[in-house]
Amino acid sequence: MADKSFFIDTIKCTACRGCQIACKQWNMNPGTKTVQRGSHQNPEDLSFATFKLVRFSEFEDNGKPKWYFFPDQCRHCLEPPCFYTAQSLGVKAIARDDETGAVIYNPKVKVKEADAKAIKESCPWDIPRWDKKTGGMAKCTMCIDRIKEGLLPACVKTCPTGTMNFGDRDKMLDMAQKRLSEVKKMYPKAQLLNAESIRTIFLVIDDPQKYHKFAKASAPQGITRSAAIKKLIKPLVNLSPLAG
């Protein structure tokens, strides 16, 4: 099985949240208690029970309303800072699948709060979540149990619009590049976010910050293992100016 990637074409996303629900269904994650807070984004954030979340961002641009949707999830980095951080801390909860490149958390392994914090803060995309009750950490699994059986991840399978795509990394990169070149004319600010260093490649048409604070990491691309570990010796939060 080859190296895998997601391609998420936010141009096509209508925020139907099929992916968010399908993720919960497949992973048997519970619906958490929420309230209406004056936003359609709910739950408010990723959590131990929410691996996939469609983020809603509305603002005005030249007097016209804009509403951007960002189906957020783990980026499954080529050189995952969370993995190296865990290693450096002796935390055994995080593994990498050599075949697919999936970064996998074992939620049953107890992680100390301080370690979980360090792991979370090492992620430029603010993905890892720790559960106070169980002491476990969790996030998107790439539906490793599905893809090993030749199935698509639940979020991709359910997406009606073609926003969510998944497959061999080279094919996804090609698809992303091709789509980018197609849409550049109409959306000059279109860009792929951190495509070289992560396995969840987002296509956006505007400043990534307008979608979500952690949409794009501005840290140097291609974080190497040694660099990551070196950074760990320094304050962890500095990996990305966006973090924290």
């Binding site: 925020a15 949240r17 629900i21 919960k24 929420t34 209406q36 359609h40």
Partner: protein, 811 residues
């Protein structure tokens, strides 16, 4: 729909007005994306900026309830700028027909109005006929009484200035939409319109759709790939249930419900549409065959020619009775009924003026509530403000199977009848609806046999044999709907071939009016034949390349994927748009290629027939004399509106609507207590009243509570912050909601005044979740469209106030 979901991809311009396609029909959005990838323009016109607007190339706002003004302006724009498809208009519409001199229109009223009855004499609007009974025409379209000139005159009043003053849509936005949509008047361009309840749930609901139909025929967009007037239906099988005669005024296959004045079958058949024009197919002329076959299907061997096929056993409406939803519940409220089946519905939340409905349910002796989950209807007696001790209604709850727990067909918006298979057993005692109905009627028969009762013939003699080895058999129902030959037919009048008794009819073309055929619903005839269950087909071949997929499921009628498709060709049968050739006449072999044509007759130019075969005249009606509120759509304000005077005329509201008065039916127009235009809607995450979705933890997590969307400007005015709890109130009721203060709503300038618009979803109910809020239909009025009586839930007047700590303490 005239077309179907996949066909959206064939459009050059997609107008989504009167619905919110991305949120409420999310899967269909893939075809809009497909069209956009090929360069199509996607336009969304709506009071709110929604998830659909976020994906639109052009988004334009209008005030709720002003669509006819908006579309009337578009008709004027198309005519003024000669954007119409002249060939199409002259040949395939009634634009050239001469209207009789009694027709007139003055200050908001058409001729023939009777103010005491609030109704029109429609005969004043008739088309003139010549000596042989054929409609008079002026093909040059110059005659001042021809439809085209009357149309021009009527809509000359819809100037950009007036439309802007009514709708609140800036003129440049109007022009942007008119120009883009008007560009589809060329034969090689296609424009499609997608609507839903945003158009129907108004006191001018039918005329909203009529206005668009006029635009589509002017632009030649009917009967072509990528065109059509397409209703996005709100439930997976609401198309199927309407086809089967769910509504009071029709029996299966859109046959009119018998009325008391048609005592005999002969009287009923006299209402069959007729045409003197030999080139008009007037397909409805076949109605007597469909009625006879339906009666044979209902009463089997008991139905014979000599007893009118037991026509007298069918229930009849009173001569002018309107037994629509609003009237039924009005009668229930007045105590007219003892019993009620609420089957797969939740009127305590879904009905307009739901507070009145909740009271009405208490006037019953008994109610049977059939549903997958508990709902506010079954438990109305312990709802807010109810005292169970004072309610006599005995409620029976019957659990039914959910859609994955039973086999059968559903018909989607595109008229595709798709077979579904069962994938799990229903839990506990739950049964499929069909099984409940089947067993229930057997019990009713047994009780009548035991206890006697009046008029037992239709009960004892109903053919009720849909079982195999003692179990209800859904395939037997599907076959009955298709129809059978009931006798050996040695030489069928249609094709001179022999057919065997007991075999399934190949299609409705073979149905007869002499009792030798049965058919449960003529439009579904051909769906289950000797060749098998057509709805279960899943082949992916697409010979036209237009996405018709003729062997994927089955489409009524006769697997025709786009109806009125004869309008896509010229007089010689050549496709008017060769790039999207839906039909083509093969002159050599004398047959049509492509989609199933609207009848096999040759093209119009070779002694063929007119394309609109379901219309008596054979052409599309730009002038529509059959509706209760006028032959041309005219702007009237909603029953509750923010302006004293209709800018178009002195008729503020639709002159033909029935006003409900007294009791819980109150209204407030231009009342400072209810200053804001309000609308109701749905979100992706919930379905209808939320009966199915509010119990699903993942969905209630995503949309947990009733909200009310308001603009930043209104929030400032009322001191409301985002996330504050508010009361939304009308003269009929109030609900508590969470305010979403958003830049996606904006105040309108209407007739020079600032008018605020608010809106809230109707998915919630007091039963579940406990902190979810109640139904937005506690706010909506009992008022309906004069033609359909669909309630006006999309435009009414409300107030919104912040709940202060003091108020909240009391609540």
């Amino acid at each position: 729909m005239t077309n179907h979901y996949i066909d959206f991809r064939n459009a050059d311009v997609i107008l989504n007005m009167g619905s919110n396609v991305a949120e409420n029909h999310p899967v269909s959005f893939k075809w809009i994306q497909a069209a956009r990838e090929k360069g199509a323009i996607f336009i969304h016109v709506d009071p709110r900026f929604t998830r659909t607007s976020a994906k639109a190339d052009v988004f334009v706002r209008l005030r709720s309830g002003t669509d006819i003004a908006f579309l009337g302006g578009m008709i004027k724009y198309i005519l003024d700028n000669n954007l119409y498809d002249e060939f199409y208009v002259k040949n395939y519409t009634n634009a050239s027909y001469i209207v009789n001199p009694k027709y007139g229109f003055d200050d908001g009223l058409f001729s023939g109005y009777n103010p005491s009855k609030r109704s029109y004499d429609q005969s004043m609007w008739a088309i003139e006929k010549d000596e042989s009974g054929i409609s008079k025409q002026d093909i040059s379209l110059q005659n001042e009484r021809c439809v085209f000139q009357l149309l021009r005159k009527h809509y000359s009043r819809y100037t950009l200035e007036k439309v802007t003053a009514i709708t609140g849509t800036p003129q440049e936005d109007l022009e942007k939409v008119y120009k883009a949509y008007g560009s589809t008047g060329k034969p090689d361009k296609a424009g499609t319109e997608l609507y839903a309840m945003g158009w129907t749930q108004h006191t001018v609901g039918v005329q909203n759709i009529r206005a668009m139909s006029i635009i589509q025929t002017l632009l030649g967009n009917m009967g072509i790939a990528g065109g059509g007037v397409n209703a996005l239906r709100g439930e997976s099988n609401v198309q199927g249930s309407t086809d089967q005669g769910l509504l009071f005024h029709i029996i299966p296959g859109y046959l009119p419900t018998p009325r008391a004045q048609w005592a005999k079958l002969e009287d009923y058949n006299k209402t069959t549409p007729s045409s003197k024009d030999p080139r008009s197919v007037n397909w409805w002329k076949n109605r007597p065959k469909y009625v006879a076959s339906l009666l044979k299907s209902l009463y089997g061997d008991k139905a014979v020619k000599d007893n009118d096929f037991c026509y007298s056993w069918l229930p009849k409406l009173e001569p002018t009775q309107d037994a629509s939803w609003l009237n039924l519940f009005d009668e229930m409220y007045k105590g007219a009924f003892t019993g009620f089946f609420a089957w797969g519905m939740n009127p305590a939340c879904s009905s307009a003026n739901a507070g009145k409905v909740r009271q009405a349910l208490g006037k019953l002796d008994w109610m049977v509530n059939v549903n997958v989950f508990d709902n506010e209807t079954g438990y109305f007696w312990k709802g807010p403000g109810m005292d169970p001790a004072k309610i006599k209604t005995e409620v029976f709850q019957l659990p039914c199977a959910a859609f994955l727990e039973k086999e059968g067909s559903i018909s989607n918006s595109g008229r595709w009848m798709q077979w579904r298979w069962k994938c799990a057993n229903p839990p506990g005692d739950a049964l499929p609806d069909g099984e409940i109905m089947y067993e229930l009627f057997k019990k009713v028969q047994a009780l009548y046999k035991k206890d006697k009762g009046p008029f037992t013939d239709p009960i004892f003699n109903l053919k009720w044999d849909y079982e195999t080895n003692g179990k209800f058999d859904i395939h037997k129902v599907a076959k009955e709907i298709n129809g059978y030959f009931l006798e050996d037919i040695p030489e069928h009048p249609v094709d001179k071939k022999a057919y065997k008794k007991g075999t399934l009819v190949p299609s409705f073309v073979f149905l007869l009016d002499d009792g030798r055929t049965s058919c449960g619903n003529w439009i579904y005839s051909a769906s289950y034949t000797e060749a098998g269950n057509m709805a279960a087909r899943r082949k992916k071949n697409d010979p036209t390349g237009l996405g018709l997929y003729p062997e994927w499921s089955w489409t009524w009628p006769v697997n025709r994927r786009i109806i009125y498709n004869r309008a896509s060709v010229d007089l010689d049968g050549k496709p008017r748009n060769p790039n999207r050739a839906l039909l083509k006449w093969d002159a050599e072999n004398k047959k049509w290629l492509g989609d199933i044509p609207d009848g096999p007759a040759p093209p119009m130019g070779t002694n063929g027939v007119y394309p609109f075969i379901m219309k008596p005249d054979g052409v599309a009606s730009i002038f529509g004399p059959g509706l209760k509120d006028g032959p041309f759509p005219e702007h009237y304000e909603p029953l509750e509106c923010p302006i004293e005077k209709n800018i178009m005329s002195n008729q503020r509201i639709n002159p033909a609507i029935k006003i409900f008065e007294g009791g819980m039916d109150t209204f407030a127009t231009c009342d400072p207590k209810y200053p804001f235009v309000c609308t109701t809607y749905r979100v992706t995450e919930h379905w209808q009243t939320g009966v199915l979705t509010r119990w699903l933890p993942w969905l209630i997590e995503a949309e947990p509570q009733l909200f009310c969307e308001i603009s930043q400007e209104l929030a400032k005015l009322r001191g409301i912050s985002n996330g504050d709890r508010v009361i939304v109130e009308t003269s009929r009721g109030k609900v508590e909601a969470v305010a979403i203060v958003t830049l996606r709503l904006k105040p309108f300038t209407i007739a020079g005044q600032t008018i605020h618009q608010i809106g809230l979803p109707w998915h919630f109910g007091w039963l579940q979740p406990k902190d979810g809020g109640d139904s937005a239909n506690l706010l909506t009025p009992t008022i309906g469209d004069p033609n359909t009586m669909i309630p006006e839930s999309k435009a009414f007047m409300a107030n919104v106030t912040k709940i202060t700590a003091k108020k909240a303490g009391k609540a």
